[in-house]
């Protein structure tokens, strides 16, 4: 019975992230539109777009290799797994034991690697530009992520997300390092998801694109799957920030159904807050120059380093 319940909770988590991620994108777009005095598309529009794309014919470049064709599915699979591992409404889910922070980073890194290769596969110049920029950002964002992971795991005594979340929920004490880690993670999240000021997800200017440039040649179901993967990635980062720094309302392991329901409601509320804040931030800033991104991500890396150092210093005293 417990096994069935566990399985149910895990399955629910997987479906929940899949269902909610395009809605989060749609909600952010809606808020942005309202802030810009526009009516905006319906919140469900990303879902409509995905369904439309799935129905459409997939056009492949003549020179596309197997890598180009399989990349969308690899990216989607890794991102979905990653998003399903991070605690959203409950801790201690069935697969939580593999929800290691370093494993998450590696999963996302693999997705990035495959996407960058796919961007270069058909040999268009925009794909190359996108891949080059993405790898540059990635090489800066990943060390920062790892440093932030260290801060959190040193404090919680584990790299396992579920345990980190449980620790943060029960034995949380206010630390400067946690603040550093939070700011650092937000910076990384914005860069990793290609949001303003690092990349503009709604631009039509090929020369300024990063993520969009790599997927410029994709169409039909391939594009749908990639779009869904990037929606999942945004959701994953929001879940990550929510479960580590705002872990209230998470249903414990073997919790009741009502506890889980409560967790889901709170989780959706957290997503809404994050989406709203993201939209407000995006409206109030311009995109930065490509080479400024290194400074920006450098801040995240320094915050991670400082956080780690502070943890050590305070521990030894």
């Amino acid at each position: 019975m417990t096994f069935l319940l566990d399985l149910f909770a895990q399955a629910m988590q997987m479906i929940l992230v899949l269902a909610l991620s395009p809605v989060l994108i749609g909600f952010t777009r809606k808020v942005k539109a309202r802030l810009l005095r526009r009516q905006g598309a319906p919140v469900m529009q990303p879902w409509y777009d995905l369904i439309r794309l799935l129905r459409k014919e997939t056009v492949l470049a003549e020179d596309a290799s197997w890598l180009y064709r399989s990349a969308p599915y690899i990216i989607f699979a890794t991102t979905w797994v990653a998003a399903s591992l991070a605690p959203t409404f409950a801790t201690g889910l069935m697969f939580s034991w593999i929800a290691d922070l370093i494993a998450l980073t590696a999963l996302l890194g693999s997705a990035r690697f495959v996407l960058a290769l796919a961007g270069m596969d058909v040999g268009t110049s925009f794909g190359g530009i996108g891949s080059s920029r993405e790898t540059m950002f990635g090489s800066l964002a990943e060390p920062a992520t790892i440093m932030i992971v260290f801060v959190v795991s040193l404090i919680a005594g584990s790299t396992q997300l579920s345990e980190v979340a449980a620790y943060m929920a029960s034995d949380f004490e206010l630390r400067v390092s946690v603040g550093f880690a939070l700011v650092g993670l937000v910076i990384v999240a914005i860069a990793e998801n290609g949001r303003i000021p690092v990349d503009n997800p709604s631009t039509h200017l090929e020369l300024t694109m990063v993520h969009e440039a790599m997927i410029l040649e994709y169409s039909g179901r391939h594009l749908a799957v990639i779009e869904l993967a990037s929606a999942l990635k945004l959701l994953l980062y929001v879940s990550l920030i929510a479960c580590v720094f705002f872990p209230f309302g998470l249903a414990p392991h073997n919790g009741s159904l009502s506890g889980m329901g409560y967790g889901v409601v709170l989780y959706v509320a957290k997503l809404a807050v994050a989406g709203f804040l993201l939209a407000v931030f995006e409206v109030s800033t311009a995109k930065m120059r490509v080479f400024r991104v290194s400074d920006y991500l450098g801040v995240a890396l320094m915050l991670g380093l400082l956080g780690t150092l502070l943890v050590f210093v305070t521990r030894s005293l």
């Binding site: 110049s125 000021p197 080479f291």
Partner: protein, 509 residues
């Protein structure tokens, strides 16, 4: 009546041959004087306004430094060749290549023999001249070379992702840094010259209004003034003021739209939303006052076609008050957003020397220290009676171009206010005899939002346009865009491009 001065002078020209070009002087020169004139431009003593041909002669329009009168020199080309202007003065190169494409006149000694507007897809060569048929469409074009181990090419266009016109940009970049940009234009060539040749004046005016949609008022204005100069038409005072009103409304709408669009290219959509709001209200006001959002075909030779009703004046004043209220907020939003300033300051800087050499008009020139505005420097009715400040900067970057545009917005708001205050009563259209006693030429220089538009035309004795040349300000701005992007990063190109906002259609004709 100050504003009637020019028309009167145009009418006073001596009736003897050769055909003069009202209201300016036309000199029929030999090869020697032609070369002297070219040297004068190359030295920088005079600015090149345009270079064109009617198939038999080539014409060179120049304006001496600090002079207000344009000189048009004509050189007959009986052997279908003329001494290259581009050889000594780079800015003339593309105009020269266009002459070779359209009329088959060969510039002797030209450093660039490649075709420009002709992409080999018209099915014929020299549509304005001998019209030789060609069978196979071919589009071979050799871009200028940029070689080196780390360099790579990025072809962009001609079809772009946004709803904009077609044009090809060939970047050679070292990683992110642009080493060379070469443009290839001509994809929207419509054959305006051929469409106009043989058309009645009213018909040709409609073609002129459609050369570049965003400056339709300015084009109609320039074309009407050229016709009026040629035929010696005195335009009623009310029409003169209404023309200025339309021209300034168009300028305002374009400047607001573009400032928003530039900021949007830096992903700052808030500015686009705010500026778009102002632009939309301006366009709606134009539709309410003149019956067309862009005021197309509202300026016609002889006057204007629609009168401004008395109750609309109050409406316009209300709109002006609202814009005057919004403007400081927009200035603050632009100037105080550091992330936006970080993108625009220092990006795409145009040197004063280049701006001067290319005699580049409009806000692009004024942002790089070139104090030229056709409304002021050449002067035409009714601007002699209106006072306004020219915004000038020396920085020449994207930021400077935006500030100069903000200054022009302030100037235009002031001009509209003066126009509304002084709007005289009376007729709005003068009927005139369309058939001149003999072949006659006219020209006009009018400031569009982009810069000065030159229109030259010849009306035949049958009262139809024998030939017309419309020179868009973009001719001297497109080449500078190639210059300013050098050393900038690829991702900054959209920002530079938008801050220039050259016309594809006006250039490709």
């Amino acid at each position: 009546m100050m504003f009637m001065r020019r028309e009167k002078r145009g009418g006073e020209a001596p009736p003897a041959a050769p055909p003069s070009c009202h209201p300016w002087s036309r000199l029929d020169v030999g090869a020697k004087d032609w070369s002297a004139a070219v040297e004068e431009i190359a030295r920088g003593d005079a600015d090149l306004l345009s270079l064109w041909s009617d198939g038999a002669s080539v014409y060179l329009a120049t304006i001496a430094k600090d002079a207000s009168d344009v000189v048009i020199r004509a050189l007959a080309c009986p052997d279908r060749r003329f001494p290259s202007v581009g050889l000594l003065h780079m800015p003339a190169l593309r105009l020269e290549r266009t002459i070779a494409d359209l009329y088959g006149l060969e510039p002797i000694g030209s450093p660039d023999a490649r075709r420009w507007l002709d992409h080999g897809r018209w099915g014929l060569r020299h549509p304005g001249g001998a019209r030789e048929a060609i069978d196979t469409p071919s589009d071979a074009y050799s871009f200028l070379k940029a070689e080196g181990e780390p360099l790579h090419q990025i072809p962009v266009g001609p079809v772009h992702a946004g709803i904009i016109e077609p044009g090809h940009f060939r970047f050679t970049a070292n990683g992110e840094v642009v080493v060379r940009l070469e443009e290839r234009l001509g994809f929207v060539h419509k054959g305006v010259g051929q469409l106009m040749a043989g058309a009645a004046v009213a018909q040709a005016a409609k073609v002129a209004a459609r050369v570049s949609g965003d400056s339709t008022v300015a084009y109609s204005f320039a074309f009407a003034r050229a016709v009026e100069a040629a035929l010696g038409v005195a335009v009623p005072a009310r029409a003169q003021y209404l023309r200025a009103l339309m021209a300034e409304l168009e300028r305002l709408a374009n400047h607001f739209g573009d400032i928003g669009a530039i900021c949007n290219d830096a992903a700052f959509a808030l500015m686009l939303a705010q500026c778009g709001l102002v632009r939309e209200r301006l366009l709606r006001a134009a539709a309410a006052c003149f019956g067309h959002r862009l005021m197309m075909d509202r300026i016609v030779p002889g006057g204007v076609s629609v009168d401004l009703e008395a109750d609309k004046i109050a409406e316009l004043r209300g709109l002006l008050d609202w814009i005057n209220l919004m403007l400081p907020r927009l200035l603050k939003l632009y100037g105080d957003t550091t992330s936006l300033q970080d993108r625009t300051v220092g990006t795409g800087a145009l040197s004063e020397d280049l701006a001067r050499q290319y005699a580049c008009g409009g806000f692009v020139g004024r942002a790089s220290g070139r104090r030229f505005d056709a409304r002021r420097s050449v002067g035409y009715a009714p601007y002699e009676t209106l006072s306004f400040e020219l915004g000038v900067s020396k920085e020449g970057d994207v930021d400077a171009r935006i500030w100069v545009r903000f200054d022009e917005i302030k100037a235009s708001l002031g001009i509209i206010e003066q126009v509304l205050d002084r709007l005289p009563h009376g007729g709005i259209h003068a009927t005139f005899e369309e058939t001149p006693p003999r072949e006659i030429e006219g020209a006009a220089l009018v400031e569009s939002f982009r810069g000065d538009i030159l229109v030259w035309l010849r009306i035949g004795a049958n009262g139809r346009i024998a030939h017309a040349h419309l020179r868009d300000p973009s001719w001297f701005q497109w080449p500078l865009l190639e210059a300013v992007i050098k050393g900038n990063i690829v991702a900054d190109f959209p920002l530079c491009n938008k801050s220039f906002n050259c016309s594809y259609s006006g250039h490709d004709l």
